[in-house]
Amino acid sequence: MNQRPFVRKMIYLGLIAALLVPLSLLSMPARRGNSQEAGSKGGVLAQLRDKNRLSQANLGEIDPTSETIKLVTLGLRGIATFALENKATEYKLKEDWTKLKATLEQITKLQPNFPSVWENEAWNLSHNISAQFDDYHDRYYWHIEGARFLQDGIRHNETAPRLEWYLGWIISYKLGRADEHLQFRRLFREDTDFNGKRKIEDRDNWLVGREFHLAAEDMAARHEGRGVNNPLMFYYRAPMCRIDYAEALEEEGVLDEKAGAAWDVALRDWIEFGKRDLGTPDQSERMDDIPIVRQQIEDLYKQLGELPPGDVPNKLRAEKRAKLADKEIASLEKAPDSRTLDEVQLATMAEQKLALGADEVEKAVDREHRDEARKISTKVDDLKTRLTKLEATRDHVNYDYWKTRCEMERRPDTLEARRLTTQADHAYKVDNDLLAAQKLYDQAFAQWDAVLKEFPTLRRNTIVNEDMMVLIRKYRVLLDKLEIRELPKDFPLQDIITAHPTGQ
């Protein structure tokens, strides 16, 4: 009998058995231990997954529904998702919200560990669908549905802080900045289903949104900052929520110590935000470092000035300044926050012309000190780059404005100015008592004048100016009804009117 096929088969079986050993070492799954027996770390791959936090269990909860639906698609998960996305588009077009929501849930069950899918579908619910409804109760309902959707997504993606951040965004910004924000804030306070055991007085959408933002920051800290693509915008929302909360309180007529305390806390958080390092391990980036960096640049210029023949930077700058046009010089001499748009452009160009390059400094210094001059100039350039970046970061979030604004708003005299304004508005619009309203407006403007004198940067600020102009226009209409055609000659905020682009 021919035994060669049999021998071949035995050899193959032996090889297969032998291969099982390295296969097992590589791919044995990890096993959790219990009280009866110890667990096992599993094979090489399981240990690598655990070490680099790549296994699904490391990402978050594993949902049996999700696993089931993935299994029954038999590897066609991508096609199933595509088909469901098409269906979702069709349901959205045909305004079938119930089926759309069900389809979005199916999509996330097929792709539970893609944060962008949760984010995208939550956006669909809280932005696209909610906007379709006329009644604000329905719009609120869909905003909260988007929030609940994200809460589900967070359970599956515990290493994705952006979902928690986005949840905070929906609760704080989406509810708080909508046209119907007063109504939404009221509904949110009354919403026991979403707020759970939270006390009524704590159910402010800004404060609750801030809690979610802080939870996102905790999550990011636990995972060494992974998942945070834009640190500035990521960490900016939590302190900004405090400011928004304080503003909302005043809008709702709370103008007492509670409002003052809210601004106080907002200022504290904002200053802490300025101290936060938003950079990388190689380069720190704190907005609070701006004065330090400026000082460092000044010190280095002093060092350059000490190099023979002496005072090189100032001499070079003087020469360049002499070549500037009068308009450019005038714009440079004006305070930055009081410049018009044209003046800002002129000042920027002038500053660029005045900037000292490393080459020209090196040439102006005596030959034997040129190496040193070059090194110092290079350091100056690096610090200037860093300063530019820090200033851009600061300007991006309007850091200085909000800091000064918090300092102003928390003061009792500012609260008094706001109270007077509110009383004047009430006398005018509700009581229709024009004379009383005029008196109160006069007192309010005097109070605002006193407050803004303490904060000249805010007095020149366009946002504050526009708010004052709204008041002034209302006052003008009131005066018109009293047949007074002109503002009083000693009107306290005349400078604001004059500085306004329309001049009225």
């Binding site: 049996p64 639906i69 119930t98 069900a102 849930e105 409804f133 006329d134 604000y136 046209d179 109504q183």
Partner: protein, 614 residues
């Protein structure tokens, strides 16, 4: 409910569909005979070919004329036994498993769970029963032919027509039994799944009359229930301790109480009013523009979906529905007017208030109108207005609805938006009269009848394909028929060149060149050839769309109502709480018969031509 295409009355549909069907059947028969003649001519010459065709046809006529119901019944019984042996009823187990795990995927807390649950059970049933009938029908004959057991049958003797008919009937009986069981479990699943109650504690209530504390009796109590299934209800309990909740998620509950004082307990009953089978009376819709002049349709406010047109608020623009065939006996308590109006705001307006509208009723013959009735627009919900039998005209004089406003059974309802800068959107089915409601259970059964019709078709197709294809290929062919059936409307759109991006050849060309579908192709020789090929392909697609049954849904779909293969899917009606019109079901039955007859004939002729049947 969204009805993009209005089904035609039966007689009107028949007058258009029947000639089309006859033409299609005739064309297919002629094409088939011609093909057979040509093939036979190549083999045996034209004379013999003609003789073969004649003998085939005459034999077929004899065969059909002598079909024995007794033998058909016996073969059907055999098919049923064969199915039982194959444990096809295990499919019911699969369905029960699907229902058992469905609760993971269905959220009863959604704002409108009834359509969701009903859609799910009807869709799951459709897919499962069609797949089961596919497998059952496609493998049976080929298995018999392969195992030579077919010879036992044909030597009985049994005619090929009886074999085909017997199998179709037998498998249909099996699937019908399974469908009936699935229907029963579906009903139980939906009712049980949506069944819930709420907790209501005395502490949640407050007395409306402040002279008494809660629990002392003799006062009206109001408050809110605890949340369940993602919602809660506002309650009003009368002095007698009974009351009802408001409507939330489309239902309400009865409330009873027991005990007194601080020990008073409230019981909230099962949900009521969830399941509907509305029998609407639709009217014809026309529009007037902002100057009050008739226009074909209203304004488009920028929606991609143009199902609804809009009218300007605060102008003379209006939408008018003209109802016909109104009978006073059908409306003993007044005219129940239901509407679902969309709102588009061009400015925020008063956020706290919904947009105000009004409607008047008009006698189409005399022009006499009622006084305007105002309403606050409710979006995505049915606004139920009841017009009283006695009302006032535009001058404040008392009038009778049927005496003064309804003329020869006709009545016009004209709707206005009162808020300037805001718009109301509507389509024809968005306003209707509701003289009565049908039985939900009967409507659910009708929905299952439409699924049954689809099952009959797939069974027939499966048996037909299996008469000349082997098992696996017959299964694939039936599967292709099934899938194509769900995309018939797309095929029709492709055939009429209504799809952006051109036909199949152009699509391949665009894919290869990564050209967007919205970009016009340059006019070159290549694109000319491609478009020419597609023109020919479109003819085939139009033909193919008439050869495959239409398994699309009627609700929410645009289709040609004059075609004989109208959509068979009625799940939308049941899910949205509307009665399936009996005329529509009859049309679907006739459409099914339009397919069954030729499929049976094709299957019979194919089996007859095979050696095993000779």
């Amino acid at each position: 409910m969204v009805l993009e295409t209005d089904p035609l009355p039966l007689s009107q549909w028949l007058s258009g569909a029947l000639p089309t069907w006859l033409f299609v059947v005739g064309a297919v028969a002629f094409g088939w005979l011609l093909l057979g003649f040509l093939i036979s001519t190549l083999k045996n010459g034209p004379g013999k070919a003609g003789d073969n065709i004649f003998r085939l046809l005459s034999g077929a006529v004899t065969d059909l004329a002598h079909i024995s119901p007794r033998r058909v019944y016996a073969l059907a019984r055999l098919a049923v036994k064969e199915s039982s042996r194959k444990r096809v009823f295990a499919g019911l187990g699969v369905y029960l498993v699907i229902l058992a795990f469905a609760i993971w995927f269905l959220d009863p807390r959604t704002n409108d769970p009834v359509p969701l649950y009903l859609s799910f059970v009807l869709t799951a049933t459709t897919y499962l029963i069609l797949i089961m009938s596919l497998f059952l029908s496609a493998f049976s004959l080929p298995a018999d032919i392969k195992s030579h057991t077919i010879y036992t049958i044909v030597t009985k003797p049994v005619r090929p027509s009886e074999i085909v008919l017997g199998r179709i009937i037998g498998f249909s009986v099996v699937c019908t039994a399974m469908l009936a069981v699935m229907g029963f479990f579906s009903y139980v699943f939906v009712v049980r799944g949506l069944s819930h109650t709420h907790e209501l504690a005395l502490s949640n209530l407050k007395a409306v009359k402040v002279t008494a504390e809660p629990g002392d009796g003799g006062e009206e109590l109001t408050g809110f229930t605890e949340a369940a299934h993602g919602h809660r209800h506002e309650v009003v309990i009368g002095p007698d301790g009974t009351g009802r909740t408001d409507v939330a998620q489309g239902h309400w509950h009865e409330i009873t109480s027991s005990g007194e004082g601080a020990n008073r307990r409230f019981t909230i009953g099962e949900p009521q009013g969830q399941f509907h089978a509305r029998v609407p009376t639709y009217g014809k819709l026309s529009f007037k523009d902002r100057a009050g002049q008739p226009t074909t349709k209203g304004i488009n406010v920028g929606n991609e979906w143009t199902y609804r047109s809009y009218i300007d608020g605060g102008t003379r623009a209006s939408a008018t529905w003209k109802f016909e065939g109104l009978n006073e006996a059908d409306y003993p308590d007044g005219l129940p007017l239901n509407m679902t109006i969309r709102v588009f705001r061009s400015h925020k307006g008063d956020i706290e208030k919904t947009v105000l509208g009004s409607y008047i009723l008009r006698n189409p013959a005399t022009g006499r109108t009622s006084e305007a009735a105002n309403f606050n627009a409710k979006e995505y919900a049915i606004d139920e207005e009841l017009v009283p039998l006695r009302l006032k005209d535009a001058n404040g004089n008392p009038i009778s609805l049927f005496g003064d406003l309804v003329a020869n059974g006709e009545l016009e309802v004209e709707l206005f938006c009162l808020a300037p800068g805001q718009y109301f959107g509507m389509a024809r089915p968005d306003m209707y009269l509701l003289p009565h409601e049908g039985s939900f259970v009967a409507n659910l059964v009708k929905g299952y009848v439409s699924i049954w019709l689809e099952m009959l078709l797939i069974t027939a197709f499966g048996v037909m394909w299996s008469t000349f294809l082997n098992g696996a290929v017959a299964m694939l062919a039936t599967f292709a028929t099934l899938v194509t059936g769900f995309y018939v409307l797309f095929l029709q759109q492709l055939g009429r060149d209504e799809v952006v991006g051109g036909g199949p050849t152009e699509a391949i060309f665009r894919l290869a060149g990564q050209t967007s579908i919205t970009v016009e192709l340059d006019e070159t020789l290549t694109t000319g050839v491609i478009k020419g090929i597609d023109d020919v392909v479109r003819i085939g697609l139009r033909a193919a769309s008439n050869l495959v049954p239409n398994f699309s849904e009627i609700a929410g779909t645009t289709y040609d109502p004059r075609a004989f293969n109208i959509p068979m899917g009625d799940a939308g009606f049941v899910a949205d709480g509307f009665d399936i019109p009996p005329e529509l079901l009859i049309q679907q039955m006739i459409a099914t018969a339009c397919f069954l007859v030729p499929i049976f004939l094709i299957g019979f002729l194919c089996l007859k031509m095979r050696e095993v049947a000779q």
